[in-house]
């Protein structure tokens, strides 16, 4: 365990708040478990930073900090693409709704 740092406290609060949000939403169990695992790993790395080096060794990356950055980029990229897909699906639903409304009005006219 490293010495206490305000940054560690701040990151812990953010991660715990995110965890609360995740558990407060009704989502598939697998999804909740995956996000909880990722956030749990984040919490461990915040409080036991030298584990990042062990993780980097497993992943074949030189420095622990690089491993954390690469993993964060990969997870964020996945989330951005996933969100893009979800937004597109919502757009499709809105388009269908508006189209149906227009067709109804067309029939009435």
């Amino acid at each position: 365990m490293t010495d206490f740092l305000p940054m560690q406290l701040g990151l812990t609060l953010v991660l715990l708040w995110t965890l609360k949000l995740v558990w407060g939403r009704s989502r598939p169990r697998l999804w909740t478990a995956g996000v909880t695992a990722a956030l749990g790993l984040g919490l461990i790395l915040v409080w036991v930073p030298h584990l990042a080096q062990t993780m980097a060794d497993w992943l074949g990356v030189k420095r622990g900090v690089d491993a954390v950055v690469y993993l964060a980029i990969a997870l964020l990229t996945f989330q951005v693409i996933r969100l893009h897909g979800l937004i597109e699906n919502q757009s499709q639903t809105i388009a269908q709704l508006v189209s149906h409304l227009a067709q109804d009005q067309f029939e009435r006219d």
């Binding site: 897909g85 499709q92 388009a95 189209s99 227009a102 067709q103 009005q105 029939e107 006219d109």
Partner: protein, 218 residues
Amino acid sequence: MAVIPAFNEASHLGGVVEAARTHAHQVVVVDDASDDNTSQVAAEAGARVCRHLINLGPGAATATGLACALKLGAEVIVTLDADGQHCATEIPKLLAPIEEDRADLVIGSRLLEPQGMPRSRRLANHTANLITRWLYGVAVSDSQSGFKALTGNVAKALELRPGFEFSSDMLGRANRLGFRLCEVEVRAIYTPYSMSKGQGFGTGLRTLSRMLVQDRQS
């Protein structure tokens, strides 16, 4: 029956509708929530008008237009752009393969004889064709053409995407569902106005990103 999706096209739409009416017994204009008097111009030119409450893009406007045409009993539908880029006189040429039972969906290709097409447009269209071939498995010479003819059965089976990606998506779905596709050569009239209304570089990139994240099997 002709379907014309339109967004802020009041200045040119009247002429397009009048020209289309000489070759189609009914014209349906879908006003995609224009800020100008597109609906009024279309109605005055003799079109049946359907209006979206919010702007959704050409794909959704085309889908609404096809649905309206089907409600009016259309068996064959021609879609064309509202910017005057397409010659309504070529509608019979587009309908011929369907009337001869050689095709279910006919694409009016501007690239079989691309005379007059600006080089930037030609390059963009060739790129779009490559992407359409890669993502949707359909090899055509003009995947982005808005000048198409299709049977009522094709129109019923399609569920179009809202944006500019609808054109490639339409071809991909029709091909997957086993409909017969064919292309006929058409002329396109490029004016500063029609050039300003088409897909720019930014729209092209957004279209590509949507194509990449969409579920193409749905």
